[in-house]
Amino acid sequence: MGTLSNIKKFLRNNLIVVIFYFFSFSSFEGIKEYPNLLIFSFNLQMIILYFYVLKFPDSLGIGHVFLAGIINDVVIGITLGTSSLSFLVLIFFTTYIRNATLRSRMASEWLAFIPALFFSNLVYYIIINNFSHMSFYYVELLRSTFFTFLFFPIFYYLFNNFEINSERDNA
């Protein structure tokens, strides 16, 4: 019984890391069957990163983020290190926001997500343009960034509730 509860506790504490790795490996095969939904595609990894670095910085190790970024690059087929650098820039920016903010409010954090996303995508753009010969779909990237920003409050609420319940269970 004790072992089971320990496993449950371990999984609950590390669920976000597992989800983060899963999104790096996964290519969302199922969603392609619904082309209309693809319009609303967004980058959940960015939302997870921003939320957890801002609110629960010890839940998601940045070493894991770095490794997940490398995996993401291999799966997508772009220059190794691109996603990692982009994620780390987002973390850097978020850490700065966390240190500079005295009272955290969802609305202000949501707005601060815009420059964080901007700098992160800028790094992406610069690396793809200068370190590879690829052309890419600017409109899709812009759309994905917009929906990432738009859906942030929904996931903010979900992740916040999840973390509050986890803390209550652990206590």
Partner: protein
């Protein structure tokens, strides 16, 4: 003024160098490591290529397993759609079989006529297909990202698949191998922005480059002759000017969209491909 600047620098330095209670690395260290890896990825030393191939093989296999739940959702959706549309499809296929049968007879007649004409003109047959073999491979991941429209297949260098080889699905060209590892390979689809195929348009002598634009129904023709206007319902064939693909392979067709604009779509459906055939570029089977 100086104080606020100092605060800003301190906050930046703190964010870059400070490790959290449970963090093992600083952001600065990992950013430096990422930049180092990006620079290293541009190099082509043999040991780096081997390492990258091993890493790719491992990640692709895990990614295949990770994409299974998504594939199951896709399978269920496909099952539902096929249930509703199978009767219509059956009717259409019957009609198509009738048309194809009549086309086949025409084709046999034309072949015979062609042989006779060639014999009379003393022109020998060009047999480019001889000795070329098609390697069947299974699609393990169908990757759509803002950067690449590509497929990952379960065969690589060990099975004789190398960079530059062409890939067919159901008899139609769908792309080329752009990366070959030991046991896996990546296919760049013809719908990708980076794909360029020299083509010729049916009933014309207009040559151009067929480029992808991300969607199956939105290909583009580049470098067409000046004042050339594209007509609907024309088949686009490979011209073979790249020296890789044999000429005369149907790749795409023109059509009228809802706004009566002439557009180009692929004949194959690369995103639906499950089994593909990899050749050195001369085979249309």
């Amino acid at each position: 003024m100086a104080d606020s600047r100092d605060d800003f620098i301190i906050a930046i330095r703190y964010a870059l160098l400070k490790k959290g209670a449970k963090q093992k690395f600083s952001i600065f260290f990992l950013i430096s490591l990422s930049i180092f890896i990006i620079a290293l990825d541009k190099q082509t030393y043999p040991f780096l290529l081997t390492t990258r191939a091993v890493l790719n093989d491992f990640v692709y296999k895990v990614a295949y397993v990770a994409s299974t739940p998504g594939k199951f959702v896709g399978y269920l959706s496909h099952l539902k759609q096929s249930h509703f549309y199978i009767v219509d499809e059956n009717k259409n296929l019957k009609k198509e079989i009738q048309i194809l049968k009549s086309d086949r007879y025409n084709s046999i007649f034309l072949q015979n006529e062609n042989k006779i004409l060639k014999k009379n003109l003393n022109v020998g047959n060009i047999t480019t297909n001889e000795g070329d073999t098609a390697i069947p491979a299974r699609v393990i991941i169908d990757q759509e990202s803002p950067y690449l429209r590509s497929l990952l297949i379960n065969k690589g260098g060990k099975q004789g698949i190398f960079k530059g080889m062409t890939v067919f699905s159901k008899g139609y060209l769908i792309g080329r191998i752009v990366e070959s590892n030991f046991f896996t390979a990546r296919v760049l689809l013809i719908t990708d922005l980076n794909s360029k195929i020299p083509v010729i348009i049916q009933d014309t002598d207009a040559n151009g480059l067929l480029a992808g634009a991300g969607k199956k129904t939105e290909l583009k023709l580049e470098y067409l002759p000046d004042e050339f206007s594209l007509e609907p319902n024309k088949i686009i064939f490979t011209s073979g000017k790249d020296g890789m693909l044999s000429p005369g392979m149907p790749v795409a067709e023109t059509y009228l969209d809802k706004k009566n604009k002439v557009k180009i779509k692929t004949l194959a459906n690369p995103t639906q491909a499950l089994i593909v055939y990899v050749t050195s570029g001369q085979l249309n089977k």
